[in-house]
Each structure stands twice: as structure tokens, then as C-alpha cells.
Symmetry: C2
Subunit: 441 residues, 2 copies
């Protein structure tokens, strides 16, 4: 598909000029469906970094941005950046966006919503001839999920000037290095240009990420939208339990040093410790008895631990208690354990000033301003190192399921989110500054 | 390797004629080491049904049997059967033996001991010119472990006339059916001869299997030998737990339907139910979260259950309680479970009359006559359907570990076992008959 193909399939054009929020919501949903055609696996939503599907999806986003009145550029990692100028040329910009890669067999709104929604908002202002004191840059981050090269948030890290050059040596399943993939992507750059992809923080006024919640909190509360207070910190560990393998029929229960039973008891201790504490979650997502057989007492078990909380102290206390429980259970059962921490990230708070502005926008729309933490990581937490950051969560249907083909949301919620995000951008006040004004261009 | 190669490496020849039990014990250990060279995987003890290593091991056993004064035949499944005639030709026989296949990377005494030990005993009688009222048949069962075709006890089933013809359609990892493997084994038979492999029960006086314990009971008790009271009954189940997958960061603990946590709780309930009950064991040997990821709440978990007890009522009560616990835990956690029973076998008692004769032989050797159940299955439990069966367990070193390269036993224990088994066979009284006499031929 080339760019001219993209512009032909213009879901908004049929209803332009757009002023109805319902039309905007329906248009966003239609474009999410259209973008889902750019997949590596027909019938599934699978789009990894710099694959052909990823390139054609980027081209389509670029075409929609251009049609909405934006100048479009791509950078070395394939980020698609559309700029809608303010009243004065070259004004500093309010950034907004999210990612357009997906997990394998994922949902079609995760990430994408946060790109399509501001494109629709800009298209509306463009049709209305409106500009603001600040420019608006809509960013489609090329990579967030970390699927192809086991390295996450590549798009936002490049823009934040926080790209870890060591990941360039990571290889994909076919043995291609990330360096090779970037150098041969046909974007007109090589890895030597990574530094130049960083945006100047002095030119950033703030960052808003609109994202599907990926959980059930808003759904359970009966609310379309929520203001994210911060992105939870996380600790991840891999645990290996070594006991003594034995014959399931011949080793009496009292003499066993069963690695799987020890792991099961530790898993339940994690659930017990994290349950009932607001804002704290603990998960054992991997649990394996390598080479296990029905008639063998397990000598070895492997499992993962993932602990998250918005309050770092809460998470650190839980991790300490879990490590103590591991030692206590292992000692009582006569098994050895090896705990390897694989990830540790402090929580990233959203900018209070921007949260208050989102709050005001929600109230102007007559909506309750529910606040909630984000348990998942997002591009916003990388950009937060450079400028004020806020996130608006949109209700996730189907029990809150995400990273799954069953992920869904409603056109009504998309319309409400577009209305609130537009209002937020129209009233946007850069932190510590009061010089924001709105003009009709 | 051909037969003439086998006979050259004759560990006993160097010390013949053998009358010392210590020499017999050392010879058995040396032959177990020598037979370990017949492996599919150098450096490991891996010998599956009808592989080249299995054929050369059989040839070596046949050569040792012939050298001990036995006539040797093989049958359709590759069993190696040596017959040491009694005083009268064609007398009914006391059978003794075990299997010469192994699990992958297993021990070198499991099964083998029960073939090499009676060969050594017969070699001694042969050197002494002794024969008995009964013939002795030493059987090397070709297959017990069930590795290659996922069907166990093939050797003893053929001899017991209890071969399940449906397993002929099972395939190995390379897609070869058991039928093809047997028909092309070069043994001069085809599967059509399976019926003829069955021995006439009227010609069997009893069966003794000497086997390494494969557990720690004798080791912990400081005893070399034990009399098996019976082979435990077993129930095996595969359980699938279906919950709801979710994002590890975004689904609050209270709303989770975590399949792995449910499985972990069930596993601990099994351990709790089976612990502290003498003679009852319960094992979760397999535990898997398919496609599990550290940041995903498990939507699915699979695990196995293996429950064994010498008392069938004890096992059945435990299984009923475990099924009730599964239902209770699943209901409380809002997950679904599917339980599939994959195996059910009643316990097989050893013949009390033969146990008493083993008891007497142990006491004549000045040894305590400790009795213990066998938690593992053995060829003896199949033969028990046709004739009186007894088993003599030999202490397993290294904490009782088996199905493992660390499996070990001592030459001293082999000597004691050879002495007690010889004495048992010399004094053997067929059940319900008192016409047994011993003669010097």
C-alpha cells in the first residue's frame, strides 16, 4: 500500500466537516478497525516493530495526519509525528500520542486509540479553522510492547533522548539485530541518527496520552473516563526452586523436598500479601516444572513474580515480605531458592497541574472526575522525564480484558474521550505559565 | 555387537567357580556397569524398547544366561528367557526376573538387578552342579517403563497373556507404530505371534522379582532388604483450570480469576490430604501455565495428580476428598475445572505364602524381615494375575533416588540379596503343595 491508497480510504471525509462528537467517536472506531488490517497474521491483530504491516500502518497514520492539516515526519525508529502549527509558526508544542505496535494477537484499541483520537480532534479544528497559542504534535510511537526485540518503549525512548544503545544488539526470532532492522528500514536514517531523534524539552509544553484502561476499574464503576494519577512502579523477579526429585510412588510424603509444592505455597503467600491492599497487585504469571512427569516428585520449579503499586514504599514493603516468605517456606521445606530480579521501576506520577486541567475538562463535560492509577506501563512514563505528563483512561469493555482479541470499547466512550481531550487541549495551560490563549486562526 | 563379543566380556569367568556371596555381589555390580554401555545416549542410561541398544543389551543378557547353564529363548516382544532345568526335564518353573529397558537418563540398577541377580545365582548352582525339583526361568522383560510407545509393562503383559492389542497402534516420536517396530525387530516373529508368547499358568509355580527399592524407606531404616507386602493401587488425573487472563498491572487482586493460583491451592490441598497418612502419597508432578508471561494473570493452568496407596479404600477416600477440594476451591475462585482420569489400578497384594518364605530366608540370613509396600508399579503386578508373586526390595542409596543417574546401591547389599534370593529359591515351596525337595543333580 502506498500513501495515495491510504488517502482514498478516508472514513472522516464522508462526514466532513465534523462537529458532532458522535461522528468523531464513530470515525475513531472505524479507523481502528481499518488499521487492524495492517497485521502480520490475518485474523489476528499482530503488528511488531518495523515489519511490513508496521510500515503500512505507519503510512496510513501519516496520511490521516496530513489530511487533518498536519505536517508529517518520521524519525529513525519509525515514529510518525504530525505537527499542527499554532497561531505563530514554530511555537512550542503540546504533545499527545501513543503507540501503534501491538502484542501478538492483541486488541485493536490498545495504543491506537491515543493516536487516532487526537488526529480526529485536530481534523475537527482544521475543518473549523482553529489554531492555538501552542502547536500540537500527535505522535504515533513506533514501538512500546517490546515484542520483536524484547526491549520496550523504543519510540518514546528515542523522542525522550533515553534510548539505550545496548538494545541495538538484541535479535529477533529470525536472528536479525535491531541495528540491522533500523538501518534497513528504508526510513532514510541509520542508527547513527538515534541521538538526533530526541526532541528538545524546551520545545515541549506537556504530554497527554489517551489510552484504553486495560482493566476493569472504570467498567465496574460505570464510568467512561478516568484521570490517571500515576503509573505504578514494578518489581519483577524470576524464582528457581531446587528440591529433590523422586518417584511419586516410593517417596513418603514426610520425606519429600518437592520444588513445585514449595513454589505453590510461595505463590499463595504472594496472593495473600498483595490481596486486600488498595493499589497493590502481585502476580505469578509463569509457573513451570521443567520436564515434569505425573509420576515424578518435582525436583525443580520456576516461576515469575510481578509486584506493582503506585506507592513505591508499598511495593518495596510487599517485595521485602515476599522475599522473607520465600526464605521461610524454603527453609521449612528443605528446598533451595534462587531469586533473580529482572526489572525494577519506580512509579511515575502524572503532573498534578495537568491532572487538575483534565479534572476541569471532565467537569465541564458533566462527567465525574474519577482518578485511578495505571498498573500498566505506557509511553507517557518515558516522556514524563522531559515534560509534564497526563493520561486519560477510556473504559475497556468485556470485563476489562486487554492484550487479547476480546479487547473492546464503545463509540460512545470514544466520543466522550474526544470531547474531553479536545476541551483539555483547547484550555491547556502549560505548567507554571499563564500565557495560554485560544484564537480562531 | 554380536553374541561372541558379549561372551568375551565375562565378569564372572575371572573368579569362577563362584561360591563367595561377596564375589557374587561384586559380579552383579560389574555386570550392571557393563550393561550400561548399551545406551542410546552416551553418558546417560537410556534404553528404550527395541532400539539398537536394547537389542545388544538383550544379546548380552542371553549370553550370560547361556553361560550360567540356561537354555535361552526370546519371544515376540523381545523378552529374554533363560531356563535352568530342574532334576526332571520339563518341570514347572519358578519364575524370576525384571525389566531391562530404562527411563531416559535413568539408573543402571532399576530392573536390571532383578535379571542379573538370579543369573548369578543360577551360575553358582550350575558351577556347583545343583538342580531342584522345580525348573527356574529367569526373565528379562523387554519393556516396563512405557517410554517409547507410552504403554507400560509390555514384556510382562505378553507373558501373562494380557497384552492389550490396541497399543500396537501407538507411535513413537518418529511416527513408527509399535506394530511396525515388533514386526521388523528381527526376532523371527510378527505381532500375529503375540498370543503364543503367553506362558501356561499351569507351568508356573510362582514369581519372584528382586528390585531396587527406588525410595528411602530401607535406607532410612538402616536395612539392606525388605519384603514387599503389595504394590500400591494408583489413580492418575489430569486437571485443567480455566480462569480469566488479565493484565498483571491493571486487574485488581479482588477481581481476579487466576487459574494458576487456583491450581496452586489445589496442589497444597492434595499435599495436606495425603500427608500424615501412613502408606498414602499424593503428587502433583506436572504443573504448567501454557504460554504464561510474567505480566499476565494466568487464564489457564494444567496439572497432574497421582494418588497411591496399598489400601484401595484409603486411596479412593483420598481421591474423593481431592475432587471435593477441587470443586470447593474452583467455586470460591470463580474458575472452571476439567478433571480427566488417565489411569486407575487397584493394589496388587503379594502372595502371603511367598512372603512368609522370604521372611524365613531373611531370618536364616540373620536379617530383620522388614515389610513395606511398593509405591511403584512392577512387572510382578502383571504376573500376579497368573501365579503367586513375591518381591524382594534392595536398599537404594543416595537418599533413595531412582529414575535418575544418581541411583545407586552397594555390592554388599547385592551380595545379601543374592544370598537371600538363593536361599528362598532353594527352599521354595509352591503354594498349596508340600512336595518340594532339593537334590544335588
Amino acid at each position: 500500500m502506498n500513501m495515495s491508497d491510504c488517502t482514498k480510504s478516508n472514513e472522516f471525509a464522508e462526514a466532513a466537516p465534523l462537529f458532532s462528537w458522535d461522528e468523531l467517536g464513530a470515525g475513531i472506531m472505524a479507523r481502528a478497525q481499518a488499521l487492524a488490517a495492517h497485521t502480520e497474521a490475518p485474523g489476528m491483530m499482530t503488528r511488531s516493530f518495523l515489519t511490513p504491516a508496521h510500515h503500512t500502518a505507519a503510512a496510513r497514520l501519516a496520511a490521516w495526519m496530513a489530511e487533518a492539516g498536519m505536517s508529517v515526519r518520521r524519525d529513525v525508529v519509525g515514529n510518525v509525528i504530525g505537527r499542527y502549527e499554532g497561531i505563530e509558526p514554530d511555537a512550542p508544542a503540546l504533545l499527545t500520542g501513543s503507540h501503534f505496535d501491538t502484542v501478538p494477537n492483541g486488541g485493536i484499541y490498545d495504543g491506537i486509540l491515543g493516536i487516532l483520537l487526537p488526529i480526529a480532534c485536530v481534523a475537527r479544528w482544521h475543518a473549523q479553522g482553529r489554531r492555538f497559542a501552542h502547536a500540537i504534535e500527535v505522535i504515533g510511537f513506533a514501538e512500546e510492547e517490546g515484542v520483536r526485540f524484547k526491549a520496550t518503549l523504543l519510540g518514546s525512548r528515542a523522542i525522550a533522548g533515553a534510548f539505550d544503545l545496548r538494545v541495538l544488539d538484541h535479535t529477533d526470532a529470525a536472528g536479525v539485530t535491531m541495528r540491522q532492522a533500523i538501518d534497513t528500514a528504508g526510513l532514510g536514517y541509520s542508527c547513527a541518527d538515534l541521538g538526533a531523534a530526541a526532541m528538545d524539552p524546551a520545545r515541549m509544553l506537556g504530554f497527554l496520552e489517551v489510552h484504553i484502561e486495560q482493566g476493569p476499574v472504570l467498567l465496574d464503576a460505570g464510568l467512561a473516563l478516568g484521570i490517571v494519577t500515576g503509573i505504578a512502579g514494578a518489581t519483577r523477579m524470576q524464582v528457581e526452586v531446587s528440591g529433590v526429585a523422586g518417584h511419586a510412588g516410593t517417596v513418603p510424603m514426610a520425606g519429600r523436598r518437592d520444588a513445585a509444592m514449595a513454589a505453590a505455597e510461595i505463590a499463595l503467600a504472594i496472593e495473600q500479601r498483595c490481596g486486600g491492599v488498595e493499589g497493590l497487585v502481585g502476580t505469578v504469571g509463569q509457573f513451570d516444572v521443567p520436564g515434569g512427569a505425573a509420576n515424578v516428585v518435582p525436583g525443580r520449579a520456576l516461576f515469575s513474580i510481578d509486584v506493582r503499586a503506585e506507592q513505591d514504599g508499598q511495593r518495596e514493603a510487599a517485595v521485602a515480605d515476599i522475599l522473607a516468605a520465600i526464605d521461610r517456606i524454603a527453609a521449612r521445606r528443605g528446598v533451595a531458592t534462587q531469586v533473580r530480579q529482572t526489572h525494577e521501576a519506580r512509579s511515575v506520577p502524572c503532573a498534578p497541574a495537568l491532572c487538575r486541567q483534565l479534572d476541569a475538562a471532565l467537569r465541564r463535560a458533566g462527567l465525574p472526575a474519577r482518578r485511578l492509577p495505571s498498573g500498566a506501563g505506557h509511553d507517557a512514563m518515558v516522556i514524563a522525564a522531559r515534560t509534564d505528563m497526563a493520561m486519560l483512561f477510556v473504559r475497556c469493555g468485556n470485563g476489562g480484558i486487554s492484550h487479547n482479541p476480546l479487547e473492546t470499547m464503545s463509540a460512545e466512550d470514544a466520543a466522550l474521550a474526544a470531547r474531553v481531550a479536545s476541551d483539555f487541549i483547547e484550555h491547556f495551560q502549560p505548567s507554571g505559565s499563564n500565557d495560554h490563549k485560544e484564537y480562531l486562526a
